[in-house]
């Protein structure tokens, strides 16, 4: 096997091959400057609170329309920081490679990691590489962790959500999940589906900076989709939630794909969406702030918080005025999409 073309167990063995892989491929592709790597990164942080998060990525396929596992691994962690009211500062990057994985593919993924991080103005400051025997992973798994500095005045929390608050989303539902599933099932549509995978820190900071504590809570509706996030909020805040079906932004092709496979877009994963709960009098300004950003063109108020309840429910008012419950998704119908 050619050591220049595919990953071998020795690439994770701690010797020359591994050092070469890190210094010649991983570090430069990810935007690193120094190959004098130390055991831990030392970074300057501003005064105030730090946010810290981690996420692992096992998406299949590794490359999809609108992104790849690399872009996803940066956006996912940046977004977890962003919705928590933090300005992302630095990420770690851990790769678990399967023996036999093509180095050319790895390079493509690393390039996307570098570009995405650079655009998000966040540095990759530390990392790790492991190689497992063929059959013990599926090409490549990635873990990223990240730290960010909490924006002054940002105080998101379930306990601050009260009756009357408005529920917002920055755009269409389910684009990522349906893209992955369609690609996996080999479904083709006239206009191809595209994942919404994107870093959302500019959208979230706009709201936190302009509206301060009128922003009650934010979360990115990834696995389980908007339905999961709203159910989590309802239970944690002990409130009812009502959403309006006609207000939900949906892409027509994505909707057609979901109908064909029998899925409800409320349950489908997003990777470039944020759900925000804001005070009612701040909703119009929030929508204005989002719509003036490319990632928020189709932002909309999708519902409202109802009064507190011991049995909090999320309900949908349908297009014809009917009501139904939106359950916490349960299924394994959506395997490995992030």
């Amino acid at each position: 096997m050619d050591e220049n073309k595919t990953i071998m167990l020795a690439h994770g063995g701690g010797g020359r091959l591994m050092a070469d892989l890190i210094s010649r491929t991983i570090v430069p592709k990810c935007g690193g400057r120094s190959v004098q790597l130390t055991d831990a990164a030392t970074i300057d942080v501003p005064a105030g609170k730090l946010c810290f998060t981690t996420d692992s990525f096992v998406v299949k396929p590794l490359f999809f329309n609108g992104g790849d596992i690399g872009k996803l691994s940066v956006c996912g962690t940046v977004n977890d920081l962003a919705v928590s009211g933090a300005q992302p500062l630095a990420l770690s990057l851990s790769l678990i490679l399967e023996e036999g994985f093509e180095i050319a593919q790895l390079e493509k993924i690393l390039e996307n990691i570098g570009q995405t991080a650079s655009r998000a103005n966040v540095r990759i400051v530390t990392g790790d590489t492991k190689v497992v025997e063929k059959g013990f992973a599926d090409g490549l798994f990635i873990n990223t962790a990240g730290i960010g500095a909490r924006i002054t005045g940002a105080v998101p929390g379930f306990e601050r959500i009260t009756e009357g608050d408005a529920i917002l989303i920055n755009g269409t539902l389910g684009d990522h999940g349906m893209t992955i599933m369609s690609q996996r099932e080999g479904l083709k549509f006239e206009s191809p589906l595209k994942s919404d995978c994107a870093c959302l820190h500019e959208l979230t900071s706009r709201l936190y900076n302009a509206l301060g504590n009128a922003v009650k809570f934010m979360r990115d509706p990834t696995r389980g989709g908007v339905a999961a996030v709203l159910n989590e909020i309802a239970v944690a805040a002990g409130v009812g939630i009502e959403i309006d079906e006609p207000a939900l932004p949906m892409d027509k092709t994505v909707q057609a794909a979901a109908d064909m496979l029998g899925f409800d877009l409320l349950n489908i994963a997003n990777e470039g969406k944020v759900v925000a709960i804001v005070a009612p009098d701040a909703a119009a300004r929030a929508i204005e702030l989002w719509r003036s950003h490319p990632l928020g063109r189709r932002a909309a108020v999708i519902g409202r918080v109802l009064k507190g309840s011991d049995h909090p429910l999320v309900e949908l008012v349908t297009k014809i005025g009917g009501r139904r419950i939106v359950q916490m998704p349960y299924g394994r119908e959506l395997p490995r999409i992030c």
Binding site: G262, L313, L316, T318, I320, G321, R323, R324, Q327, Y330
Partner: protein
């Protein structure tokens, strides 16, 4: 659209005022069952109207004996089992296809994919678990025809195909007084044609209304049924517009008829329905998995404790089953109505309070 919904609501209300008893409507299509929940249709109807979910989900009506044969064949080393995804998690006596963890069990989206498997693996026999009503049967028939014309000897189907109309007749013939009318399946009716329901409407004097799957079409279907009942009529009617003709798709009907013959096969919860199941005609017997593997027939079996059969007959709503949402959930289903996304139990679980 909202005006049409309002109009339908008014018609329904007027009919309810004239009738002083409950109106019980059975939908015979899993897609209708799900759509009724998704659109919140029940919340718009007077309490007098009761919607029952009938035997309209292909996986749900598939008998336990069939599932066990599928599991048995899937366990053989010389077989690749190709199946629609829903079947993967239906429990049989020997577990589920999913739990067999065999790479030779393949989920396919079409019969073309199953044929391609047979071409790719000439050393194995590909068995396609062919279930469904008149909507999926033509695809199975075409696959067998293709296999015959291209001498693809390592392909066969295990036919679990079923016919909708005999099931409707069996339900009414069993003196099921819970059914006042049928909302007939949209997709199946595109193939069958609305005239196919005439024997049901005429013999039992029950309204049979074909409806589409949009919220407004379902509301108009219910309104048409209520109007017929209030006027003492029991006729065939379609509110699905141009998609459904009285005669249906003659080409698809001919394809089915050329390849399959009706016989008295087992249905879950309904037993053996006269002429309710389809098997390959004798001239295509070599593509019949039963014939190829020397299995004499699909036995009728029931799974203990599971009330899916009674749910499918409209005798109980899913929450009345003691297993519902307790031992039987979508994550760990006991009966097929909880497995299939179009199953009544799955829909009640997903959209209801519990």
């Amino acid at each position: 659209m909202l005006e049409r919904v309002e109009q339908a609501k008014q018609t329904i209300q007027q009919a309810c005022t004239r009738m002083d008893r409950p109106i019980q409507i059975m939908e015979v299509c899993g897609t209708h069952t799900v759509a009724i929940f998704r659109h919140g249709i029940r919340s718009l109807l007077p309490p007098q109207i009761k919607l029952l979910s009938g035997p309209g989900c292909p996986v749900c009506v598939t008998d336990q004996g069939y599932i066990d044969i599928v599991l048995e064949l899937a366990g053989r080393d010389d077989v690749i089992l190709a199946t629609y995804g829903d079947m993967m998690r239906v429990p049989g006596r020997a577990g589920t296809l999913e739990r067999l963890h065999k790479p030779e069990i393949k989920v396919v989206l079409s019969t073309d994919d199953a044929l391609a498997l047979a071409q790719k693996h000439p050393d194995k026999t590909v068995v396609f678990a062919a279930v469904g009503f008149e909507t999926t049967t033509p695809a199975s028939a075409v696959a067998v025809a293709d296999a015959a014309s291209s001498n693809l000897h390592n392909f066969c189907i295990l036919s679990g195909h079923k016919l909708v109309v005999p099931a409707m007749q069996a339900l009414l013939g069993a003196k099921n007084d819970k059914i006042d009318a049928f909302m007939c399946p949209g997709h199946v009716s595109v193939i069958l044609g609305s005239d196919a329901y005439k024997p049901v409407a005429e013999r039992f004097h029950k309204p049979c209304v074909v409806a589409g799957f949009e919220a407004v079409q379902i509301m108009e279907g219910i309104a048409a049924i209520c109007k017929q009942m209030a006027e003492g009529r029991g006729e065939v009617e379609s509110v699905y517009g141009a998609a459904v003709t009285p005669q249906g798709n003659r080409t698809a009907q001919a394809i089915i008829d050329n390849m399959f013959e009706p016989y008295d096969g087992p249905w879950r919860g309904l037993g053996f329905i006269p002429g309710g199941s389809l098997r390959l005609r004798p001239r295509y017997q070599r593509f019949d998995a039963l014939h190829r593997f020397g299995i004499s027939e699909i036995p009728a079996e029931e799974l203990g404790g599971c009330q899916c059969g009674r749910v499918l007959c409209g005798l109980i709503d899913p929450p009345q089953c003691p297993l519902f949402a307790r031992k039987c959930t979508p994550d760990s289903p006991i009966g097929p109505c909880m497995v299939s996304t179009e199953g009544a139990c799955s829909a009640w679980y997903k959209y209801g309070k519990h």
